[in-house]
Subunit: 115 residues, 2 copies
DNA sequence: CTGAACTACAACCATACGGTTGTACGTTAC
DNA sequence: GTAACGTACAACCGTATGGTTGTAGTTCAG
């Protein structure tokens, strides 16, 4: 089977983390440069705690890492998680291509294929 | 800029739709073959209405289409939506590569680059 | 040492989500 | 025409989500 062998709930967390504009913006920022949590919070019109929660969601989804440096916490983006998400979508496209191939097969053979 | 020009809430819907294992399974099925809604519902240990809701979420995210045929509704996967999601993630990787390039620049030049 | 800065976390609120059951309506079959 | 099928949708429930404020613990500066 072509089904990916990553934990389903892990994938859930990945896409769920990406399903918020603020979080996607955070990801694109921390992929470019390092930010402290408060440095990120300054960028958005919401409370510090709200941004803190967003970062926590991203961390649980492995999209960012936090590293304590003195009294501040450095946030960095993890491109490998992004790549994994992209690869999952690649698989869907691959499945779809097989469908196209199968249509070709059906046209070539008899139409007696059901399951 | 490399920033994609798709509505943010549209992207929200896309990733949010993908953030559920049942919905991802539906997508992979309807990318391979056509299903009726009740045909899909048979595949899962949940009520028909629950599956119906999942399909509605996928439809709102443009990941599937529904086409009425007689008394049944045919569900098909839209690979273009999958591709768009994949392309969004591609951009994140691209941003990340630019960061790598920038690090190279900093090493080559003087370290007087801040913003 | 004291105060300010950075973070963590709990409590709370409104809303959305995933699931259920029940009802209603168009379509097919007999 | 009637019964069964496929679908749509509303109402409801428990829980998760995204936001807030408030409190408390570390760490840095003076």
């Amino acid at each position: 089977m072509v089904v990916v062998q990553v934990g389903e709930d892990e994938v859930d967390r990945l896409f769920q983390a990406l399903a918020d504009a603020t979080r996607r913006d955070i990801v694109s920022r921390v992929l470019v440069a390092e930010y402290t949590v408060s440095g990120l919070a300054e960028q958005y019109a919401m409370s510090f705690a709200a941004v803190q929660k967003h970062v926590a969601v991203l961390e649980r989804a492995s999209l960012v890492t936090k590293e304590k440096r003195g009294r501040e916490q450095i946030v960095r983006g993890r491109v490998d998680a992004v790549q994994r998400a992209r690869r999952l979508l690649d698989e869907y496209e691959h499945i779809w291509r097989q469908r196209i191939d199968r249509i070709g097969d059906l046209l070539a053979e008899d139409a007696s294929d059901q399951d």
